[in-house]
């Protein structure tokens, strides 16, 4: 029987929203306070949802230790207490939470083999969050 399992993690990082394709005025008009050249930070909350059949012997979709290890190694160690703009994946791509959410989904899809990755949900603050379910996902 298939179940969905969701695990929640936290990390903190700084970023600046600025697109090289826009003029200084356009950047300011588009991103407002988030365009401050010195950057600013957030405490992000990351929710990772995986799915699969519940193993008849273990009663698990996947071993949480494996999921925790993978998320810590591939995502948290990469972004926690970092400036997102200094990462090469955000050289050109603006590190909005939308783009960060997509990046994390793609990282986990490449690196977690033990269950199907259903969804990545990223909270930037308690008031806003973003979800990505993959390129070809049909929404439930």
């Amino acid at each position: 029987m298939k179940a969905h399992l969701t695990r929640r993690y936290r990390f903190s990082a700084s970023h600046r929203l600025h697109s090289p394709e826009m003029s200084a005025e356009e950047n300011l008009a588009t991103y407002g306070k988030c365009n401050n050249p010195h950057g600013h930070g957030h405490n992000y909350a990351l929710e990772v949802t995986v799915s699969g059949p519940v193993d008849a012997t273990t009663g698990m979709v996947c071993n949480l230790v494996d999921l925790d290890d993978c998320v810590k190694r591939e995502v948290l160690s990469r972004y926690h207490l970092e400036n997102l703009n200094t990462r090469k994946e955000f050289d050109v791509t603006v590190p909005t939470t939308e783009n960060l959410c997509i990046e994390i989904f793609e990282i986990l899809q490449r690196s977690f083999p033990y269950a199907h990755l259903e969804r990545v949900r990223l909270e930037e603050t308690m008031m806003n969050s973003f979800e990505y379910t993959g390129k070809n996902a049909a929404r439930n």
Binding site: M1, K2, A3, H4, L5, T6, R7, R8, Y9, T49, V54, T57, T58, G59, M60, V61, N63, L64, V65
Partner: protein, 136 residues
């Protein structure tokens, strides 16, 4: 179609152990959760039902009835219990959050007539939950 979710909390103890594994395998797969004395959690059960809004009552489901069914079928059986020893499903299955969600679904499904069961979500901690949508 409208979806309605009702929450309830229960507290229970459990441990993870499969008779199909050797003691070494149990310890390796389940880690600290394999301690036979058990450990506990405050679980949150979220039950989501779906249906059309009744034009006279304005309800998808009578919330009082839903609450009673959740209490009778799930909470009375699991609250303040040692799941492995006191809940029949977990005498043969490991009481993981996955299996608790499935057991709650199977207990609730035949009791709900007015609205259709859509999802059972069980939080083991605020950072870990399982969703079950029934057999696909």
């Amino acid at each position: 179609m409208v979806y309605l979710t009702r929450k309830a909390e229960f507290s229970a103890s459990h441990y993870y152990h499969s008779p199909e594994f050797t003691p070494e395998e149990n310890s390796r797969v389940f880690g600290k959760c394999n301690n036979p004395n058990g450990h506990g959690h405050n679980y949150t059960l979220e039950v989501t039902v779906k249906g059309e809004v009744d034009p006279r009552s304005g309800f998808v489901v009578d919330l009082k009835q839903l609450k009673e069914i959740m209490h009778r079928e799930v909470l009375d059986a699991m609250d303040h219990r040692f799941l492995n020893k006191e809940v029949p499903e977990f005498m043969t299955k490991v009481p993981t959050t996955e299996n608790i969600a499935i057991a709650a679904w199977q207990r609730l499904k035949p009791r709900l007539q007015q609205a259709q069961l859509h999802r059972v979500r069980v939080y083991e901690t605020p950072d870990l939950f399982v969703d079950f949508y029934g057999e696909e």
